[in-house]
């Protein structure tokens, strides 16, 4: 399949070579560090808008990881829905609910201490469990799954969940619109 594509696009072969293991390793670390560091930024940032920006970078990093995992459709969905949709919504929410950009609610020292302790313990436990449970294994070379297969699965085996989730979205739309409207009614 891949070879055929390369046969048809000989110049493409020279311009963009297929990613090799080393390149994907490098890209993995690039995206992983982007995602992880930004996630830390989300935790540590005190300005809520900056938090959202860090979240954007995390999401972008995760989208990059999806690319490496051969899930490019998912990567695009991540960008469209999360970065382009949900996050815009969140920032909208921030803009509507804060009177000035510098709004801050500081947590108490005790809370910070507890949170850090708990987080460190959970992180350590999870990492150790993962390392014990999933020893390193050679990456499997798989056929590039195409978007067509994903579409067939979505409209085949997962047809009913797919439809249900559409209905759910409709319900959410109505519900959110209602809540927003109720807000105005309450205001008057």
């Amino acid at each position: 399949m891949e070879d055929d594509a390369m046969m048809i696009f000989p110049l493409a072969q020279t311009i963009a070579q297929p990613p090799d293991a080393a390149a994907s390793t490098g890209l993995f670390y690039l995206f992983a560090i982007l995602a992880g560091a930004s996630a830390l930024g989300v935790v540590l940032s005190r300005n809520i808008v900056r938090t959202a920006v860090f979240l954007l970078f995390t999401l972008a990093g995760v989208a990059g990881l999806y690319f490496l995992l051969d899930a490019e459709f998912l990567a695009a969905v991540q960008l469209v829905v999360y970065a382009g949709g949900t996050l815009v919504l969140i920032i909208f929410g921030v803009m509507l609910t804060s009177k000035s950009p510098g709004i801050r609610y500081e947590p108490k020292i005790v809370e910070v201490a507890v949170a850090i302790g708990v987080s460190v313990v959970v992180a350590a436990a999870l990492v150790m469990a993962i390392v014990r449970q999933f020893p390193a294994e050679p990456a499997s070379i798989e056929r590039h799954p195409t978007i067509a297969e994903l579409g067939q699965v979505l409209l085949g085996d997962y047809l009913i969940p797919f439809e249900l989730i559409s209905v759910l979205l409709l319900v959410v739309m109505i519900g959110a619109a209602y809540l927003a409207k109720a807000r105005r009614r309450g205001g008057k």
């Binding site: 048809i8 696009f9 390149a23 382009g84 803009m95």
Partner: protein, 452 residues
Amino acid sequence: MPVWMLMLAGAVSPFSMESWWFGALGISPALWMRVIYSLLLIAVVFLPLVSVIAMFSIWWERKVAGHMQSRLGPNRVGPIGILQSIADGLKLILKEDLVPRSADSWLFRLAPYLAFAPVFAAFLALPFGPEFTFEPRLSAGLFWVLAILSVEVMGVILAGWASNNKWSLFGAMREAGQMVSYEIPLGISILVGVMSAGTLNLVELGFIQGGGLHTWLVFQNPFTFLAFFCYFIASLASNKRAPFDLPESESELVAGFHTEYSGLRFSFFFFAEYAAMFIVGGIQAALFLGGWNDPFGLIGYYHQRFIADPSGIDHAGLMVLNVIAAAVFVLKALGIMFVQMWLRWTLPRPRIDQVLYVCIKVLLPMACVILLGAALWQLFVPRRPGLPWVDYSPWRFGDYGRDQALGALVTQVTLALVGVGMFAVLLGWVVYAAISGRNLKRRLTDPAPIPM
């Protein structure tokens, strides 16, 4: 290296210490080569390409505006003012980089890059030619471009927010609402084209439309024809181009979200806008207008001949062909850009509620109806299977009857004739306007007194 770090690594990881650290530092030479190669590609090919296209379009827009308003436009720097953009760019680079005191400076600095980077990245997938594409293997290429363009809005919103300025904030909010709404009809009308093509890969889209005018997706059936216009309108709005340029409407919001920006940062927004225009036009050309193909299918035909040459692939021929194809593609995209500019200098600007009304109550239902119609058409009107030139010869109309594709052929040819007619009318209009405008301009700018 501190010993305690090594110990920590050893305690956490069951793997040897050497591999942990050596892996990080001793990344294989192949990887370094890849990194350098990629960076070079970006620096040598991408950035100049995007910049040149953006700068050219900025100059062109000013020329078009001049024509429309019966003046000359830029005419001092270089012949017919072609170097004006470079001069402006130099000026902007040299300007002082201002950050308002009450602004959120970190976000304020970040926002222009956030606006520019996605547009830049979207160039990755544009199919300039059959082989002249930076990343041909994106099986969801079209969707991906759409996705990455949707990130651009973040830059605008953050710019508006971080400026800590009422007008900027209003502009940003408008942009957010407008873009999020118009992405729906945009996506649906893209879906119409994708549905009748059966692929999201932009290169494959080009091959499918390689058989001449009547195989272009816009002429595939009446619904793709409608979707073409639906897409154009929605793309105007999601690109915040006039008449949907509410986020920066200067009569109410000073300059909208980039009121506080100056210098290089401002030029980033400017570049992003024009590059996005090109991308949107390019996507429209690639999806509906046959991509890099000429109206007679010659490029597709010769490409197939060069590829399937029994004496091996003809690389030189392919190279030339790709250059021609890229020229055709860029020409198409620029043509669409021209229409965008034309509209900007022709139409008045509506109110924001009218803009949203058009989206939700007109464009969206229309797009849904088009989608439904296209689906039904797809179900019931069979097309010739296979790729043009590879599996069949698209200009041998007699064969269509054998494949039960007569209905499709009649539709395609009819629509293609309609399209050619429309194009001819448009072209005549433009040429007439240009000629008559030139006469008027000569009279207006002539130093000699106008005879009474």
